[in-house]
Symmetry: C2
Subunit: 172 residues, 2 copies
């Protein structure tokens, strides 16, 4: 473990604070942009609940292997893309290229190397899906020339470790 | 839902911040008290990791139905009490009455009423286990004359909703 002396609880708190600030900043920055939102990784539905409050009135397309969320946070069936991200994300990116204002991608698992690899694999599909000026907020670093990194300090989370969560804006 | 206008993500952030502040305050307050720590609900082991940092050198007795924690956060087998809390907690309370300096009890589930009932049921066993001056930090309110409630403002978490997490000190 190399956690900079932080416990897993402290690292986790930084992660959820960065997530919340990143989503809120993306919602504010894309307010005037038409389009839908992607939630990649539903989990128990906490961030889905936050997204539907911050992006009220927009469709939220939700990707996960299965629906295992809190009963209050189950997306409409028509919005679900169930299965392996490596199949569902490319298929939906082709259908909705350039029409997504915000991708939230919380795709990591206990295996850090596999999580990084999945993030790298997903990045070009997210770029294809996003509208110019759209935001990508996620738990994995993304390296793509079309994505401008936004520092956590610029989304109101300057007191967090710089890599607690990741925010990008699609150039254009 | 009656969440005071907060999203589940915001409520969750308050909960983990309150948890972290409560544990840290309990560790500081019980520094001179001999005894062991109880982790009631291991889950993925985030708070267990925090407890073993803050209560270094103490035995941490861990209760859960099964071990499903992160590979870095698996307690020693001798410290595990596996099974239903309603069996394992009373049995251990009888064995170690008055010798526990801190109980951390994160026992809630998606069913709020069942979680409250479980908290009420566990309270007297925690009282039996705790040393005088020992702390109980948990996600459910406890109502027992032997437990003095400590406000979140008094553990450095005054900016959180008052019932985000619960901290008690055993009188005596």
């Amino acid at each position: 473990m190399n956690n900079g002396g932080k416990t897993r609880l402290e690292l986790f708190i930084s992660r959820v604070l960065g997530q919340c600030c990143g989503i809120d900043a993306a919602a504010a920055a894309t307010e005037k942009l038409p389009g839908v939102v992607w939630e990649v990784g539903l989990g128990n539905g906490r961030t889905y609940d936050h997204l539907r409050a911050r992006f009220a009135g927009r469709d939220i397309v939700v990707f996960d292997r299965e629906v295992a969320s809190h009963p209050d946070c189950i997306p409409p069936a028509a919005m679900l893309r169930l299965g392996d991200f490596r199949e569902t994300v490319p298929a939906e990116a082709a259908r909705s290229a350039g029409t997504v204002v915000m991708v939230h991608a919380d795709v990591g698992s206990a295996n850090a190397a596999a999580s990084r690899a999945l993030g790298r694999w997903l990045a070009p599909w997210f770029v294809q899906a996003l509208a110019p000026g759209g935001y990508l907020v996620g738990d994995q670093p993304m390296d793509d020339a079309a994505l401008e990194p936004i520092a956590l300090a610029d989304v109101g989370a300057g007191d967090l470790p710089p890599r607690a969560y990741f925010v990008y804006r699609k150039r254009g």
